[in-house]
Structures are given as C-alpha cells and as structure tokens.
Subunit: 275 residues, 2 copies
Amino acid sequence: MKTVGIIGLGLIGGSLGLALKESGKYRILGYDRNSLHCEEATKLGLVDEVVPFDEIEKVDILFLAIPVDGIVEVLHQLKNPKEDITIIDMGSTKAKIVQSIPKRLRRNFIPAHPMAGTEKSGPSASMKSLYRDRVVVLCDLEESGEKQIQDAKEIFNLLEMKIIYMNSIEHDTHTAWISHLPHAISFSLANSVLAQENRESILNLSAGGFRDMSRLAKSSPKMWRDIFHQNRDNILSSISYFQSELEQFRLLIEEERWDELEKKMKEANRLHEIL
Amino acid sequence: MKTVGIIGLGLIGGSLGLALKESGKYRILGYDRNSLHCEEATKLGLVDEVVPFDEIEKVDILFLAIPVDGIVEVLHQLKNPKEDITIIDMGSTKAKIVQSIPKRLRRNFIPAHPMAGTEKSGPSASMKSLYRDRVVVLCDLEESGEKQIQDAKEIFNLLEMKIIYMNSIEHDTHTAWISHLPHAISFSLANSVLAQENRESILNLSAGGFRDMSRLAKSSPKMWRDIFHQNRDNILSSISYFQSELEQFRLLIEEERWDELEKKMKEANRLHEIL
C-alpha cells in the first residue's frame, strides 16, 4: 500500500486526508507545524497518523497543503525524500512556486491548484466531499516525471475531479482575474460595511446581496497574504482595471446617464450565457 | 374572501402569487403591462386570473411588484380604488416612493421591502418559497391606517417572513451599503472579467470566488437602473467610500506592506461574528 503524506492539516489538507482515507487505497500520514492542528486532526480522524516533519518526507506521495510562501520554504527543507517521490502542491499561485523548485526535485514535482475551498479554515473545516466534481489545474507537466504524473492523475481521478492543464504563467494571470481580484474586492467591501454599518442592520438586510459578496472576506488572512505576495503584479493590474470599471459605473450614476448605466448592466448580464 | 391584486408578475409578484394562492385565503388577480408576462403567468398558474389595469385597482389589497420608478408612476394612475384599499409596494428603495404617494392614498399605503430575490427575473423565475424565513422591512407606518397595517402583517406572517420596522430615510441609507453597493460592485466585476477573460477560463476557474461575486451581476438592468436612480446620493457615497478602501488595499500590495495587509484582512474576518 502506497503512503501519502500531507503537510498542512487545515481545510485543504484535512479534506484531502478524509477523502483518501475513505478510498482505502493509501496509508495517510499527516504533519502540521501547529500542534493544535495536529491534535484536532487526530481527534477528527483526518489522517491515519500524525508524524514529525522528518518522517513526513519518507512517503511515496507528498502533498503540500499550506500557504504558498510556506510551500516555497518547505521545498528547501526536504532532506532525504525517496528518489521517485511524487510531490504535489495545492497552492493557489503557480509561477513563483515552479520557479523555486530545487532542480533535483523538479521531476518529482506536480504543480496543482484545486479550485475548491470554502471561506472556513483549519482542520475542523475539512469535508470529505470538498473536491468532488471540482476542477484541478495541473501546470508545467512537461518537466514532471511520468510516474509522478500518473500518481497525480490517479489521486485526482479518485477524488472525482476534472483535470485541466495550463502553464503556470497563464494560470497566474487567469486566477488573478477570476479568483484573486474577487477576494481583494470582498475584503474591501467587508471592511467598508463593517466600518459604516451596525451588526443588526447587517443581519437583517444582508440577504440583499451582501451575504454572497462578503463570504470570501472570511477567508484566511495568512493564506491570502501569501497569494497577494506571489501574484502581486497580476493582481495589481486586475485591481486597477476593476477600479476604472467601477469609476465609470459611479460616473454614470453621478451624471444621471441612466440609459448608459442600463446598457452597462446588460453587458454584465452576458454572464447568464456562461455561468 | 378578500381579493389581492398584484401589479407586476415577475419574480417578486409571481412568487407572491404562488405563495398566497397556496394559502387558499385570497382570490388573486394579476396585471402586467407586458403581455408575454401575462401569458406566462397564466400558464404557470401564478395568479387566479390575469385582468386589465382598470380592474386590478378594485381589489382589497394591492401589491406593486414592479421597478421602483414604475411604482411612483402607477400610484398616480390609480383612478378609483376602494376607499379602504391596502396598497403595499415591494420596492428596494423607500424614501422617494413615500414622498411620491398622493396624499389621498397615504393612509392606504404600506411601504415594504422584502429582503428576498434571486438574480433571475420574469414570471418563470417565481418560487413559492421565495419569502419564507426572510426579512421584510416596513417603513413609516405612523402614517398608514390601522386596517392597512393589519392587512400587511397578516400577509407577511402568512408568508412566514420576519417583519422589522425602519423609517424610509434610514432604510435607504442602510440598503445603499448592504445591498446597493454590492450590486454596483458585482456589475463592475462582471464587466471587468468578461472584458479580460475567455469563457473557458471563467467556467473552469470560477469556483475560486468569481461565481459568488458575480451572481448579482445577472440581476435585471431595468430594476437596478431605477434603484440607482432613486437612491443615487446614498449609493454615490457608499461607492466612494468603498473606492478608497480598495485603493488602500491595492497600495498595501503595491508597496509590499504585507503585515498591514494581513491586519486588514483580519479586520474583515470579524464578519465571522455576524454572518
């Protein structure tokens, strides 16, 4: 039976542990540098066994389910992994991670981004079904080994995920628009409303849109700090573009150009054809 | 058996018709100036009967479930309603509507805003359970008649809604922040991403946040044009405030002030305590 190691036992790593345990195909070891997470993960049965850092690298397949700056660090802390180990990172950015892989580990490495998650974090947020029917993006596989690609496909298929391929530079551009920009906006909207509104009004009136639009603002600050750090340039571009879109929208209201405003909203309605 | 009239047979009016029909307590008449909506509403059984405009005002309780500028118009088109008719508007803004009620109808009028809806519109979007467990805000009831207040409470209780009270000026301030600003942002985000991204990437990557953040951008442009019109000043203030929040957020990324960025996101996380 192959062994799977998971570094990081929060929502992403814990959910992976739960789903893989259920398959009965792997023995699952877990590691988290936060000892409270280790206790929780043990109690919740997210993995078969929690082990110290120097044992987690001895597995057949190693997942890195930690904030993206941590992934870069850990890659340099692995001392003596198996020669044909498969290392899969689950980070939301890809280009900087790919650039930082030590050369000796490049063929062992599969850069992956599962499009799954919730606004919750920590071991207790784990859900067996988090990955089912979701997309996972695999990047830059030309430089990964055949065995490693097979290991990754086997596991993501087992998780019932839809695998798509992208290069890491493209990945980071697309996710800046489609995932990272929405998070920046949600954090700023939440801060605006929390500064200006009282708890009771928020509770009573939030079904009018705020509930959906602020959900992402509950996400982990540490995780998102690293994402904004690693994908800084793309995110800055996407925020600036959005700022000019919103300013146009505001101007149409200020200048009472209602026909043009309605036209702008009709353009946005094209989303109906996609999502 | 009391008769209820519903002007506007889209999502809001149609869902009301469905829920009230089920109660078996009222005879429900409907009117819509769009003849296609009338046909659909008849086919879907949203009301007991679709009638012409001059008949819809002869009911005991009349709902106005149309865009807010339309509500102001219709209030002046009623010719000869029953003396003790109850008129309830379902609009998302309240101050301008209250100001525009003809004096002779003021005691008949109940300004209401149900915090319910979806991004869909039209008769076919109607759902029997749209209002259940949702909040409805009633405004400025000091100037409404006792009988009218009783009629409104009876119906909103029947719909299993939670009734809260606010004055119309306060209502429009709170909803500018908690509902109207999120819509302006969602429309602008959708327009940004539609301009910059392709259909396939949106489909594949939207689980990372965009799906939730763009849902409101599918809302009816006509409905929202009127809301931005009627609540213009409050909305302009809330957009400007949000713009400065987002600009601060962007600057922290640009200037790589990661600790402060993380602190900002932690502040936003306070939402966990409310929603």
